[in-house]
């Protein structure tokens, strides 16, 4: 499984979305399931999946799937 597939699955799991849901264009609070509580769950899921510890500033800044890709890059995870 590629890093991109793992990140997509992390979003689907944390936000309780169907297994085939498109997540690449998701933005924080645009989807009703991505609220502030779900955001903390999403960050925890991503941290578990990629074994990283994300700084608070990056937690706050993770406003979309694309941003998650960019932020993971800072922690050495190359999502392709």
């Amino acid at each position: 499984m590629t890093e991109l597939q793992r990140l997509r699955d992390a979003f689907r799991t944390a936000l309780d979305l169907p297994a085939d849901a498109t997540v690449d264009d998701l933005r924080y609070q645009d989807n009703e399931k991505w609220d502030s509580l779900a955001h903390m769950s999403l960050v925890a899921t991503i941290e578990d999946e990629f074994s990283v510890m994300i700084d608070t500033d990056d937690v706050i800044g993770m406003s979309s799937f694309d941003e998650a890709v960019r932020i993971l890059g800072k922690y050495g995870v190359d999502v392709k």
Partner: protein, 243 residues
Amino acid sequence: MSVALVTGASRGIGRATAHRLAEQGYDLVLHGHGEAGVAEAAEALSGKFGVTVKHAAGDIADPATSKALVRLAFETFKRLDALVVNAGTHAAGMLGMTPDATVERLFAVNAAGAAYTLQNAVRLLARAEKPSVVLTASITGTHGVAGQAVYAASKAAVVGLTKSAAKELGSRGIRVNAVAPGFIATDMLDTLDEAGRAERIADTALGRLGTAEDVADVITFLLSDQARFVTGQIIGVDGGLTL
């Protein structure tokens, strides 16, 4: 094996708490303001109890310090079960005679430092089975005391942080409590003169200053499963002090 992070663990209440936790088999991440003190504490506890003890030094008023501590817990243990937010500083001073720098430092360490530590640790704590946090407030923060208004205010911030965090984090299974020590025989009392110390003892029902161990025992109780239905509480450990 459970993992605890203790700030301000070089001496006093933090060190006594770290000692009790190591005694109970916790692996530890210890923080101290200066490297030498916390390194010595870590080595002593590791040697005596055979637990893994990591340490880091830095100014807790700088959010980078607590970030580094949590990262150390994550990288070493991948978990955090207990957090003791204890690092603090004390200064007495009458209103109108307290330097601005003292006001700023008291709030930076006691209030902002506590908030940074809790905020940076909360996501790792949330992954634990029975996570628990204890903060060190002060009886001055709950009751007020003449001559220590700014210190008391900075500790009142810890009371508000504790109660709000308990409400916010309860749904995620994280208990948050605080101890409110009275007059404890630690380095922080060095800023009181002998007359002041005698006066504090006279005001204490049990007729003595508290010890760091008196407070550490309550902290470890609050962290334990015996306190599993206790959250949002500020527990006085003051020997019956009346201010």
